[in-house]
């Protein structure tokens, strides 16, 4: 057993840069310690270990960020903007009372960080850094949502927080752009954040709130069945079936199984999205992620409902490849993201429905 693991660890180390391997292994280990076998979670130790960073209300590397707490819902969001959009009329103060632009469209990405519904925060360093990179590379404004986490707050808390964030963003004058003063919203997230994005989009569709697109970065889905990818990749690239099961048990209502629609949206208990005005989706799948069969099933599900979806399949990518910009997958992702949120500017190279990378 130990020998088998050693082989896997070595192979995994060959696939990713060493510092990426160290980063993700560190998380994997820490998270293992935090997940207690009885289903409880060592939240204090988790908060102690999480590396957090403050917002930068002065521009740093072209991006500035600040935090906002909604007084009614107590929901914290961290907003990132390109420094170039700021109206720095006064030394020391930044006024955000006017639209981002009255001429061009500035996409606003509502971002839900990952962490399997349990870990991380909007001010976690890994996510703060990722959001800042999204701003500079993709030319977007990012609103990162600090949603309530499991096991303390189960389904549907994260979705409710996501929905409240969407409503809040949509109603901000200072997030409007274009010559018709709209807030141009995309929903995005990695891992559990991707799952949240999907569910918030479903609600938005029902309630007539316009979302321009969904970006799901190796989204967290699952089901009762054990798929091929789960079986063959179990324990090989940082993730185990066992830990996935733990997180679902922590998030889903007690007593529920993984065919609950939150986990398995196109499964036996899933709902149809036929004929609804669901946003177009960009789904990014890491080829070494054991959850991929569920993610591919999700893509299938969207297609079967007649919905527009682009799949970016990164064959040799592991989970978390986007935390460090030291690999091709990262750059490929950013290119696709840019095209997805700036479709008008890029009519030449329209993103193809299926993209594979070696």
């Amino acid at each position: 057993m130990a020998g088998g693991n050693e082989v896997n660890l070595n192979e995994c180390k060959r696939i990713v840069p060493l510092n990426t391997w160290v980063l993700i292994s560190n998380f994997k280990l820490a998270y293992k310690v935090l997940r207690r076998p009885d289903g409880s979670f060592n939240r204090y130790l988790a908060e102690f270990l999480d590396r957090k960073v403050p917002a930068n209300t002065f521009p740093l590397d072209g991006v500035f960020s600040f935090d906002h707490v909604d007084s009614t819902t107590n929901l914290l969001t961290r907003i990132y903007q390109p420094a170039s959009l700021l109206d720095l009329t006064r030394h020391g103060t930044l006024e955000l009372t006017k639209p981002l632009s009255t001429t061009e469209i500035v996409p606003v990405l509502i971002f839900f960080h990952g962490g399997s519904f349990t870990h991380s925060s909007a001010n976690s360093a890994i996510y703060d850094t990722f959001c800042r990179r999204l701003v500079t590379i993709c030319g977007v404004v990012v609103v990162s949502v600090d949603y309530r986490r499991s096991p303390e707050h189960r389904y549907p808390c994260a979705y409710d927080d996501g929905w409240n964030a969407l409503k809040w963003v949509k109603s901000r004058v200072w997030l409007q752009s274009g010559n018709d003063s709209n807030v141009y919203v995309y929903l995005a997230g990695d891992s559990s954040g991707g799952n949240i994005a999907h569910n918030v989009a479903v609600r938005a569709t029902k309630e007539g709130v316009k979302v321009l697109g969904n970006i799901l970065l190796h989204p967290m889905f699952g089901g009762q069945e054990r798929t091929e990818s789960e079986k063959s990749l179990d324990g090989k690239y940082f993730v185990t079936i066992q830990d996935r099961d733990w997180y679902w048990r922590a998030y889903l209502p007690e007593g529920e199984d993984r065919d609950h629609p939150a986990c398995n949206p196109f499964g036996p208990r899933g709902q149809s999205l036929k004929g609804v005005n669901f946003p177009k989706s960009l789904v990014v799948v890491a080829g070494l992620d054991l959850v991929q069969d569920w993610q591919l099933a999700y893509v299938d599900g969207l297609k079967k409902n007649g919905l527009e979806v682009n799949l970016l399949y990164l064959k040799q990518a592991t989970i978390g490849f986007y935390f460090l910009p030291n690999n091709d997958h990262f750059h490929c992702l950013m290119e696709e993201l840019k095209k997805f949120v700036h479709p008008i500017e890029d009519s030449q190279s329209k993103s193809s429905p299926l993209l594979l990378t070696p």
Binding site: L18, E47, L88
Partner: protein, 518 residues
Amino acid sequence: MKRSHQETSVEEEAPSIEGSGCGGGDDNMDELLAVLGYKVRSSDMADVAQKLEQLEMVLSNDIGSSNNALNDTVHYNPSDLSGWAHSMLSELNYYPDLDPTRICDLRPIQDDDECCSSSNSNKRIRLGAWCDSVSSDSTRSVVLIEETGVRLVQALVACAEAVQHENLSLADALVKRVGTLAASQAGAMGKVATYFAEALARRIYRIHPSSAAIDPSFEEILQMNFYDSCPYLKFAHFTANQAILEAVTTSRGVHVIDLGLNQGMQWPALMQALALRPGGPPSFRLTGVGTLSNRDGIQELGWKLAQLAHAIGVEFEFSGLTTERLSDLEPDMFETRPDSETLVVNSVFELHPVLSQPGSIEKLLATVKAVKPSIVTVVEQEANHNGAVFLDRFNEALHYYSSLFDSLEDGVVIPSQDRVMSEIYLGRQILNVVAAEGIDRIERHETLSQWRKRMGSAGFDPVNLGSDAFKQASLLLALSGGGDGYRVEENDGSLMLAWQTKPLIAASAWKLAAELRR
């Protein structure tokens, strides 16, 4: 002199090294991990990877008891991945025997300053986004969105700008406008603005706060009220006490030099904790430093603490020291008993006033060093209110006190009378930051990052505060009856109390640098 914000941007991923060029092993931190909050030298990466692999193996072989062990153990400084992984391996009693290559990799465990603090405070590296956000060089702006009373803050900052440019007639007109706007602004923003407006007015008309001297007993009442109404002082005392307790676990005697005795509110809890020590309490000697005007109060306090000590069975001694300035303290004023006592020096918000006189902080820290304490506990406001440019100080303070006032607003359990008094207490600080200058400006708060440099230069090394202190401080906050938004954050071995995501108070611990301890 207006400063453009674009000018202050710093390269995110290239660390700028102080005293460039002559790098070598210490300076090759992995930049990409550094931005994510982890300090790993590139040259150590493979070693850290190996440790993580070893941990992975141990955990998968014996998941149940390892998981428990690691949950119960105290963790330190997660940014130092190498040290963290190493201490977990030690905790799990993992070190394969008879493997000569592995033995060479082992670091000497007893010398924890090598293991745990891979950061040499004398060669601190600026790590881009992660550390620079509290750099003293850059201006932190106040962000105005429509919910925050934009016109009010606009007017405040315009007024401060006018003061900066010595356009006093404009400043005068603006400060009146602020007053009017503040009066109609509800909530924390209105209150903060009122204090800042008053401070600006005093500055404009040159009515310095020192000429409105306050009755010391009223000062006392304000402080005690502040202690009771919100968690800041409680957190400060609690965290410092945790660090002290950890440093004195096996001591037969403990001697604390408290650089700011005030009402002695920190000490009953420490004494009770000592009394409950398994195996019996050490003796406890407290030397409290206070001001001349409070001489009688100090003696009375000593007497009350003695009574408490007697009641809980702790052998106790007290002496009071009065001085006008902490920098006047000399090592020979303190009777130390190194053979029988562990010496602690404690400073809760007492260091920053010393910055009002050049050379004083260096002298004070030299005195502290000279008495050879085993541990020095320091709690300070996490803010830079000591910058050279008035307008920068003003903006920083506006941001800081807005957060503080917000947190008071949220505490539903605080009766409004107590909150008003807490606001007055903080208002006096605002007055001092904005309207005072020179020796009178004592609220010269500096960030932990700045204090780290000072402590490092003075010959101190950091002592990491651990996950147990973190957890207990978090629990304390949850029980304090304050609002929901308080958070404890770990930052490179220190603990900070934040309101929402904004750190407001930083607690750290120090020991004499390695070479001095020998």
